[in-house]
Symmetry: C2
Subunit: 237 residues, 2 copies
């Protein structure tokens, strides 16, 4: 293959990688905006998060098309093919994280529009969102640096986020039993926490695709011990 064609192919691959990271940045911004607007009771900003989800979707459709053109025209092999497949899977998870941010904004909007409550604090949801955002950031960073070690960290953090959700569920059930007037607010709070918990799942997925990309191994559906063995440097036996 002539050198300039190969260089152009490199540029095309680099271009989709960059756009995945831009899409990831937009999705992080959507989560942050949804949580801040939720805390502030800022309905206009919640509306903006809802409509801006179309931008996330457009990213997915465009990058998806580019990947398919690259497969069709370049017929990539080995690690180039794994990169393209990784991108196709990663943008699906990013798009669904975008959907979760939109859900948070929708719950927030309906909650403030009913105006039955003073601005609630959502303290636990806020703490969970910070963890989920850190997980997403770590996953995108792992994608950018081709770092397979993030998968183990994120699997561990995902367990903690699941526990945070379970604990918040127990608290909200207690509140509801103590004061049934808070039931609607508690249910809304649980929806928000559930959306955040799912963001953690998607971040974990992305970090697992990076392992596949770098190591050529599919570590989804494996135990934490297996993930450690596949991704971390091993001590000599």
């Amino acid at each position: 293959m002539p050198d300039h064609i190969s260089k152009q192919f490199d540029m095309e691959l680099e271009n989709i990688r960059t756009r995945v990271l831009q899409m990831g940045g937009l999705v992080e911004q959507q989560i942050r905006a949804a949580m801040e607007a939720l805390q502030d009771g800022d309905i206009d900003r919640l509306d903006r998060v809802i409509t801006d989800d179309a931008k996330v979707n457009a990213f997915e459709v465009e990058i998806d098309e580019d990947c398919q053109h690259i497969i069709a025209r370049r017929q990539p092999a080995a690690s180039d093919l794994r990169m393209v497949i990784t991108v196709i899977k990663t943008i699906t998870d990013l798009e669904r994280i975008g959907d979760e941010a939109q859900k948070i904004a929708r719950v927030g909007r309906s909650l403030y529009q009913s105006s039955r409550y003073p601005t609630p604090r959502f303290r636990e949801a806020d703490k969970m969102a910070k963890s989920a955002l850190a997980m997403l950031h770590r996953a995108l960073d792992a994608f950018a640096r081709l770092d397979p070690t993030a998968a183990v960290e994120l699997a561990e953090e995902d367990v903690m986020l699941d526990e945070d959700y379970a604990s918040e569920l127990r608290s909200q059930i207690t509140y509801m039993m103590e004061d049934p007037r808070t039931i609607t607010l508690s249910i809304d709070t649980l929806f928000i926490c559930k959306a955040i918990e799912r963001i953690g799942d998607h971040a974990k997925n992305i970090s697992e695709y990076v392992v596949y990309l770098v190591k050529g191994k599919d570590i989804r559906h494996t135990t934490l011990e297996d993930k450690k063995r596949e991704t971390l440097p091993q001590e000599p036996a």
Copy 2:
């Protein structure tokens, strides 16, 4: 390309299509088993649904690998490439439907193990599960027959399933307010209905990939009117 190589390629493509349908059959069976065992309070069967999710996951990993081998060795173009990409996306949704069936079984198991209730009826959840199963069956059928018209039907049915969920949510909130002792059972019921509602989303996704496969158009994130225009026969202007 010699005829026999092309024939072998056809067989490989046919083989992954068949395995997607087998995986789909297994996933349908998981949903049905989870709902029946939930109605019967059959903890052993709920346990089996939970452990059998590993079979669904194994299908995903295997078919995924086969798709990547096909892309790498056969360098498919045009509709063959679209078929492979469609399969990669479809099995992701099937795997997540499997997760939802597993979630239903987990909620059921913890509910019966706590044994605080007589066997509840889950009447609305059962009705929703029947709709979601019909949607999944239609989506798999559309994949088998390369029928793009299912996408419009499933988009409409998905709206109805979302409405069923919203209506069940309102009912459960009313029950909880009337009798706070039912809060835990109501929350469990809502988790089950939410899992079913998501099965409908995934079935809709699968039917949209079929449109992409047959028409080469990406109709995700479009309105129902757009979906109709892209998939249904048009009257002459």
